[in-house]
Amino acid sequence: MTAGTAVTPTIEETTWAAASDRRPWLGLGLLGGSVAFTLAVLIFFGAWFADSRIETRASASGLASDGSTVTSDGEWWEDGLIAVCPVH
């Protein structure tokens, strides 16, 4: 090969380059969607679990027996899950 000579890519090199230039948005999007769905499920059930633990503790300590609103201090992870979950 001499300087200044145009190099024509082979078919192999052309298809190779086409494959290398792609961006896998669909695949990454589906994977991201599954991760988001899984996190949503974990947060939903986690907050439900945290809610029931707080209620159980409150009931056990007699806070609910006089008909007043059930309240009890939650642990950090219980408060965090309830704060993050939009339906709890």
Binding site: E12, W16, R22, P24, G27, L28, L31, F45, F49
Partner: protein, 453 residues
Amino acid sequence: MIDRFLPEGHTIRHYAWLIVFVASAAQMLGAAIRMAFGVLINPLEESFGWSPGAIGLAYAWMSISTALLSPIAGSLSSRIGARKTMMAGVVLFFAGMMWTSQVTSLWQFYLAYGLLFGTAQALFLVPAVPAIAAWFRRHLGMAMGFAMVSWSLGPALMVQVMAVLLETYGWSQTMVITGVAGSVLLGGLLFLFRDTPEQAGKQAYGWRPGDAPLVTSGAHFRSNSKRFQGAVYRTNGFWNLINIHFLGCVGHAVILVGIVPMAVNRGVSFPVAAGVLTTIAATSIVSRFLTPILGDRIGAKGTMFWSFFGQGALVLLLLFADSAVEFYIFAVVWAIPYGGEGTVFPVINRKYYGHVPMGPTYGWQLLGAGLGMALGGVMPGMVFDITGAYTWAIWLSAAFSLTGAFAIVLLEPTRRLLIPNWENLHASAGDGRAESAATAPAPVVGPVAGMSD
């Protein structure tokens, strides 16, 4: 002699079948020790007074370690070879089992079983399937069928063996016996193992004159394999297959972990409920064997879709199961799509990427599978603790499997390679190895009419 009973063009006298045997033995051992964890819980509880939950955490650590290290194990097998990687796994397996036999505290148990054994599993499980793929130019589905059966056979045999050993020698000696026997057996078999046909001076099973050879060494391979893997990362199929493996594994892990307590919760006695799980394992052997063959012959994407769809739709039968008979009917019906769900991945990899080293790609797929198994495993207990029933767990299992089926629909068609001409580029620009491989001994297996590529 056996060849006379095989379909035309097939032979048992090919080194590739020895590779299938060794890889299956590795998978059997790994799956067996993992699945036999259940029989360890009571002895450990009695010896140390640890709670079942605390002991079970070691299983979770092991699953997560294996999952997170799978891509590294895949990459390592591509760089240093499957045999060396699996040998390192055997050494760690031996060390893990010996240490587990001597533990006196929970943190030691987590490190020995959770981390060391988890790492060992990744090292000897991940390279096995890509190594089989390298040895089969055609008929990969049949090879995978035989290899995948080991996932069911291993636990079925090993759980009983470990139960007898535990009863006779106690948990510590059982760990020593299993560790020594497993290491000697697998280590010995690995001496017969060859990573690729090229390394053994042979052609892959099903090779035909004119096929580009699989070149797996030399400077040209090293530079191009990096570029090739970069191109694989840019395909939608690569990321979607990780996603699909994850979704499918969540779907069936919920049932595998939850089916016995679900049945007990509906009034079925414990021994009868345990039989439901055994029935699932036994029935799934059939579809584990047949599904990769079907995927190879009639289409990997369609076979995979129906397996996922069946797994997701049929799990809803559990909503109406109230008696032992209904649970057993469920076990037989559901085990068929479940058994086929994870076995088509190596076949679809072949359809998408051709006859190329598959270690890193398969390692990433096992990362998705492992995380799915870990997540699906905790779901039934978590749901039951909150709601007092398993109904939500069944719906979640269905949702994850059916989402997986939907994701399969969005996969690229398998009619053409996603990275075209890789094999030709590899062979034509070779460093001399391609030509030397092309003139290697003629293949034992000739063309077979009607067999898919």
